[in-house]
Symmetry: C2
Subunit: 68 residues, 2 copies
Amino acid sequence: MEKTTLQVAGMTCGHCEKAVKGALTPIDGVKEVTVSLQDGTVDVEFESSKASLVQLKEAVEDQGYDVK
Amino acid sequence: MEKTTLQVAGMTCGHCEKAVKGALTPIDGVKEVTVSLQDGTVDVEFESSKASLVQLKEAVEDQGYDVK
């Protein structure tokens, strides 16, 4: 199991949090997603054998946010 | 047909816009809803014989926003 923190720009409200969580959680291998609107961060716990960091970033970007 | 401008606090992103629009548009008598995130305003065109201002305000408040 791996943990990463994505820096996500533009998450402003509860809807944003929901959109990001909803995009990451269904990905095979993702175990836990924690969003901090205040910090602009998304902590993701995932199995790197199943999901890749690139895949996680793309899922968030597809919701319209910039991932640094 | 009547027009009103609601001052709505806390709308920050496209999801907020969608939530507010989605709450107002299905109300019987509501003809057009225009959200400005920048101004924090929602313009509503509605038939006052069918929908009331109180009803419009409540629909927005039910989505978690303050209407002034």
